[in-house]
């Protein structure tokens, strides 16, 4: 701090016109602050947006089943790639998308799995006896008291095939491929127990290459 010289005034001429200078000073300051706040503020928003997961708004249509393979009144349980389970129920037989309704099978009360009861024409949650009508609106139990309903997924039918709309953020988990589980309670189905045999035990199974 060696220099203690007098600090000259940076704006000598304008001093003579205080009001204009004030006005000028005020507006130039205002613009400066606005410019700085706007520029760096928007940058801060860009950074914040970057930190949040990308929102493509893009939706992928995933194949569920052929329209003819689900009988009226029955339900199949579908699992989206990021693990959410969805009940897809068929209510009519016109062959259009509005025959079907896709509702999350997770109860909005405390997260138990909700099942379709064809004999009672309702969805039922066994944990606290929550019930839902076919459109997903809660009719009894704790979710009914809270006025909750089951979240709905969009379905489309193209060329006799049923597709469910899944947001693309829910599609990929980079390291491990997504998981979809299809269990048809009615009629002949696949054996869902695929946990028994691991690929590495091939050597002992005697299975010849296809």
């Amino acid at each position: 701090m060696a220099h203690e010289h007098h600090l000259p005034d940076a704006d000598p001429p304008a001093e003579r016109e205080p009001s204009r200078r004030d006005a000028l000073g005020l507006s130039s300051t205002a613009l400066m602050v606005a410019g700085l706040a706007g520029g760096y503020g928007l940058f801060a928003w860009v950074s914040a947006r970057f930190m949040l997961p990308p929102r493509t708004g893009e939706v992928h249509q995933l194949f569920v089943t052929g329209v003819g393979e689900l009988a009226v009144g029955s339900t199949l349980l579908y699992r989206t790639p990021d693990g959410r389970t969805v009940n897809i129920t068929r209510l009519a037989a016109t062959g259009r998308a509005d025959d079907f309704i896709a509702l999350s099978s997770t109860c909005p009360h405390l997260g138990c799995q909700v099942g379709w009861e064809p004999q009672n024409n309702r969805y039922f949650c066994p944990c606290h006896n929550g019930t839902f009508d076919p459109s997903g609106k809660a009719t009894g139990g704790p979710p009914g008291d809270a006025g909750q309903s089951l979240p709905r997924y969009t379905l489309t039918v193209q060329k006799g095939l049923l597709y469910i709309d899944v947001p693309s953020e829910q599609l990929s988990v980079p390291v491990q491929a997504g998981i979809v589980d299809v269990v048809t309670p009615q009629g002949p189905g696949h054996d869902p127990c695929l946990t028994c045999l691991q690929p590495r035990s091939r050597a002992g199974s005697g299975e010849e290459p296809a």
Binding site: H3, G39, R49, F50, P174
Partner: protein
């Protein structure tokens, strides 16, 4: 209002006026010549690098299996990822360019001379840190050139006598590039080097404040009365202008010359052309002109001269009785470095 100020004053016992006086260091008028602001430029860019670097680290994964994919995710999937990555990459280029320009300004204005020799050496340390940041940063992308550039760099440091092999082991975490190498580079790039740089920078700025900025007077110039202006707000505004100009420039570069993804690193495939980043072209070209130990030793000598230049300059001036000898040495050096850089840039091998 005053009660809240009193409330604060009781808990943070510092005098505002005293602070203002301390910070409002008067700045010599010639500093208004914009190229004296070249010191603040790399400092500002360093802040940009820290901010963008921290943001990028939200998504970057420093493991060989997933590093490339995480960079791809940033570039292609994350919102504005391409932009922030672009800012970071161009920020690195501009920062190094700004440091070099600042160093040139200091050199050609003789501001390293007594009593500021130590600050020159501290500045050289800052330059080294910046270059190492550039080197380690690029290695993180895990493209072909990242991997092979790191391998070649480590092998070059290996050829330094005595300490070389240990330096290589320290850098790679082993004899060759392995699974632990990338984490090393990441820690160096993201933690060790930035902290070292900040600490050394504080020393650098501290010394500048203590000594004051060099008065510049051309030969034959009239002796004018010394004039000063306030650091705050005048010079601060200058710095703001520089900062905003840099942000606009960086935005433009990130947008018009976006950063892409080269091929993924493959330890089994050596690319035909391995080159380091542009700021190492001179050294690379030098090493290719001379073989092995000669190259490394001569380069070490050059770095030594750079480092201790104030003392060498002092000796030269006394020996040749010519104050401006440094200017000619500087011009020759600058042209050589630029020539070597261009040469390396234009040829494949």
């Amino acid at each position: 209002m005053s009660t809240s100020r009193d409330w604060l004053a009781e808990r943070v016992p510092v005098s505002i006026e005293g602070l203002a006086a301390m910070s409002n260091e008067p700045v010599p008028y010639h500093l208004k010549r914009w190229w004296f602001a070249l010191g603040g430029t790399p400092a500002y860019l360093f802040v940009v690098q820290i901010v963008t670097g921290v943001l990028l680290a939200f998504y970057y994964q420093p493991a060989p299996a997933t590093a490339y994919e995480s960079v791809r995710y940033i570039t292609e999937d994350a919102s504005f990822g391409w932009y922030l990555r672009g800012l970071h990459k161009w920020g690195a280029t501009l920062m190094i360019a700004a440091v070099v320009m600042h160093q040139m300004r200091v050199f050609f204005t003789g501001s390293y001379r007594k009593p500021r020799e130590l600050n020159w050496m501290i500045g050289m340390t800052l330059l080294t840190c910046t270059l190492l940041l550039g080197f380690t940063g690029y290695s993180l992308v895990f493209e072909q050139l990242s991997y092979w550039g790191a391998t070649v760099g480590a092998n070059i440091s290996d050829s330094v006598p005595i300490v070389g092999p240990m330096m290589k082991q320290l850098l790679l975490g082993g004899e060759v590039y392995n699974d632990r190498t990338l984490s090393r580079f990441f820690i160096l790039h993201g933690a060790v080097l930035p902290v070292v740089l900040i600490l050394v920078l504080m020393m650098h700025i501290g010394l500048v404040r203590l000594h004051g900025v060099t008065e510049l007077k051309f030969e034959g110039e009239e002796e004018k009365p010394a004039r000063y202006f306030n650091f705050f707000p005048e010079h601060f505004y200058t710095e703001l202008i520089i900062g905003l100009t840099l942000m606009i420039l960086l935005s433009a570069l990130a947008t018009l010359l976006p950063v892409g993804m080269g091929p993924r690193a493959d330890p089994l495939v050596t690319p035909d052309v391995i080159k380091p980043e542009w700021f190492f072209y001179t050294a690379f070209r030098w090493l290719k002109l001379f073989s092995g130990t000669t190259a490394v030793l001569t380069q070490g000598l050059i770095v030594f001269v750079f480092f201790f230049w104030p003392f060498i300059d002092d000796w030269l001036v006394r020996r040749f009785k010519y104050a401006d000898i440094s200017v000619w040495v500087g011009v020759a050096g600058a042209l050589t470095i630029m020539g070597f850089t261009m040469w390396e840039a234009l040829v494949a091998h």
